[in-house]
Symmetry: C2
């Protein structure tokens, strides 16, 4: 019996639902908001062994994979066939495509290439009633009915269990360059971001990091690895070799004209990854401070980047918590990390953190931003779900959930559950 | 009272629903499948006067528009601010953004830049119960809850009425070039498409046209405007000026090595549009033959392009109808036009056309393709909706429709309606 068939029978078994057992779709377990953490007694479903890459086809430019495939494995397998799977969540060496679909994962390269949803062209889903839905296919465009693929992608395991995924792939850009530049202030770095866009460029990535983040990296790995300066930009360009050279020259000239503290360029994959090693270690360096790192992936309208940085500095002073900001400046999606000592030991610290987050999210929402750009709501942001959505939107979410999962067996207790830590009603 | 408020009251008025009156969202009226054509007595809703561009902001890189804004007007207004709205459905000088959202419209440039859905970041929707849903915002990334924007985008007016749209915009690529090349056979042209991808290129557009289409253009506008040859490719590249020059040189060399009948290059916007004028007149030239043009926007896995061309030729011979193929070769989305004489006068001709389409769609589905890549199902493809979807998928569509529009007041009688011309059950 196939795994799909076993899942079908498991989910179709009324005894499971009637006993009020619960099912949680477990992927790589690398989500930031606890979407995959079971909160009631029930069945935790691991698809880790459904990890076959069934097909990668250059002519069709698609991959057909099972949900347990590690994202980096897919990226490498595509690259071997001169194809490119762009999404690159920070955990790509450990997370799975199934988890990426469940969370509609992003990453630095989504600035130019878009999020996971933009690459999902087909899904096989086991529904709560045990039926198997197949939707989409090996095609790059499809307008057959409603966008069911979009409905399941990013639904955090609450609407169905993904058992097969068809992904659109792109031609592999043959060349890549990276600029690493630092500045005296975050405002200078953030303003430079806007100047790059004003040239008509869409870099594949455009990342920013603040003083606290850089200082944590210096403490963690030694000052020599981390450029001097209080704010840091990483700019990636990809494409044909000659064109990347020309465009990188223009971006370099622009940055050089803006008084950077340091400026370094890499022109091959290995050197680019060396510059990126700094960026990739930020989360670990922040954890190495010994503080608890509460990573909030808010998004602001891009014009608010400098305002956000200033607000975070004021909030840090007011609350007493260090706040580290880094992330995807290009699309306004900044990881604001509140760094808290004794978070897991003292209730009073947790309350102070919640109060600081209340202030952060209230400001972000007042600017027309959103409280999550990549990580989702899950458990961790459940408290702010009512603030971030209208009554009409929440009612519609509940109606969709009831339609697809009337017995609430799929990932129960998460943000749609009205019990638990919601801040307001 | 605002228009939104009027709509809200109209839709919230139970009398309307209880009298089984019907509402059809009318946008520009340029859809290909009759989605906006009322089929029952009721209210046809025109949003043509909700045509304000409320905001275009460079720093945030967003546009806020009402649904009646003509797509070309938005594209021009964005361009004036050095911003770029990529989707370019053929009717862009006449169709509206609201219609583009309702159909998730595509166009040639979607090869590189994606369809309308990829640009919609916020929606205001009047629901069937009269409530107003606002979802998304002025942000380029958002992971707050389920993908409601995706659910409404492409729902063909059956789930809600769009009253405001926030669109993500890109930095305007400063330069563009076009290659126009013709070949002796469609197979040569289709093979060249794969070779371009193998270089690692993602052109902004990659269009193909067959002998019948070119011949219709010659009859319509004179032989001098139309390159010699039996198959035609248009390749567009965009980006920084120097980089477009370099990349265009590579594509030109590749095409030149493949024995084209003609080869012409344009390096500025006006010359590019002159080459594109040929492509843009194809639909009119085909109509000028005096035959009824039944445009089916099927999508095949890209490896099936040559097979599709050969199948269309065999189907033409078998059925006696000329068949004109042209369209978006790059994403396998070919407009297969069955050209029928006396279609509107003779029932027997309509039956023969339906039989030919039955064969076309059966083959496309057997290859793993889909029956619509851009136009949707609407009325025109309702007959094949059961062939193109599983029982599970259709049941899920019905459940979603009942959840959002329990009284079936929004665009009734279209593909979800079980009455009417469906071929099988």
């Amino acid at each position: 019996m196939s795994l799909v068939e076993q899942l079908r029978q498991l989910l179709g078994n009324n005894a499971v639902a009637n006993d009020a057992e619960t099912l949680d779709e477990h992927s790589g377990g690398y989500g930031y908001v606890g979407s995959c953490v079971p909160v009631r007694s029930g069945v935790a479903l691991s698809l880790a062994r459904m990890n076959r890459i069934k097909d990668i086809n250059f002519e069709d430019a698609v991959a057909v994979v099972e949900p347990g495939v590690i994202t980096a494995d897919l990226k490498r397998a595509a690259r071997e066939k001169k194809l490119f799977y762009p999404p690159d969540p920070a955990s790509f060496e450990h997370c799975t495509i199934g988890g990426n679909v469940a969370t509609n994962a992003g990453g630095p390269r989504c600035l130019k290439y878009g999020v996971t949803r933009n690459y999902v062209v087909g899904l096989e889903i086991v529904l709560a009633n045990g039926e198997v839905l197949r939707t989409g296919g090996r095609v790059h465009k499809n307008k057959t009915g409603f966008d069911l693929i979009g409905l399941f992608t990013g639904s955090e395991g609450m609407l169905g269990v993904t058992t097969e995924i068809i992904l659109k792939l792109l031609p592999l850009p043959p060349s890549r360059s990276t600029i690493s530049a630092s500045f005296t202030t975050m405002s200078e770095a953030a303003t430079t971001v806007q100047k790059i866009f004003a040239l008509g460029f869409l870099p594949s990535s455009l990342e920013i990091a603040d003083h606290f983040t850089l200082e944590a990296a210096r403490q963690d790995s030694g000052a020599t690895h981390v450029p001097a300066g209080n704010a840091h930009l990483l700019v990636d360009l990809d494409g044909q070799e000659e064109t990347v050279d020309v465009e990188m020259g223009k971006v370099r000239d622009l940055i050089a004209s803006r008084n950077p503290t340091t400026l370094e360029i890499a022109n091959n994959e290995a050197d680019c990854e060396r510059l990126w090693a700094l960026r990739r270690q930020f989360s670990n360096s922040l954890r190495a401070t010994g503080l608890t790192k509460l990573n909030e992936d808010i998004v602001v309208p891009r014009s608010r980047l400098v305002d956000l940085i200033q607000f975070a500095e004021a909030l840090s002073a007011r609350s007493g918590f260090p706040i580290a900001c880094f992330g995807h400046a290009g699309d306004g999606n900044i990881h604001v990390n509140i760094m808290a000592d004794r978070y897991n030991r003292e209730e009073v610290v947790r309350e102070k953190v919640q109060s600081a987050l209340d202030q952060l999210f209230a400001q972000v929402l007042a600017w027309g931003g959103v409280i999550t750009g990549e990580h989702g709501i899950g458990l961790a942001k459940k408290r702010w779900w009512p603030d971030a959505t209208s009554d009409v939107a929440r009612t519609l979410h509940q109606a969709i959930k009831r339609t697809l999962d009337p017995d609430d067996i799929l990932n129960p207790g998460k943000f749609l559950d009205e019990e638990g830590p919601q801040r307001s009603a």
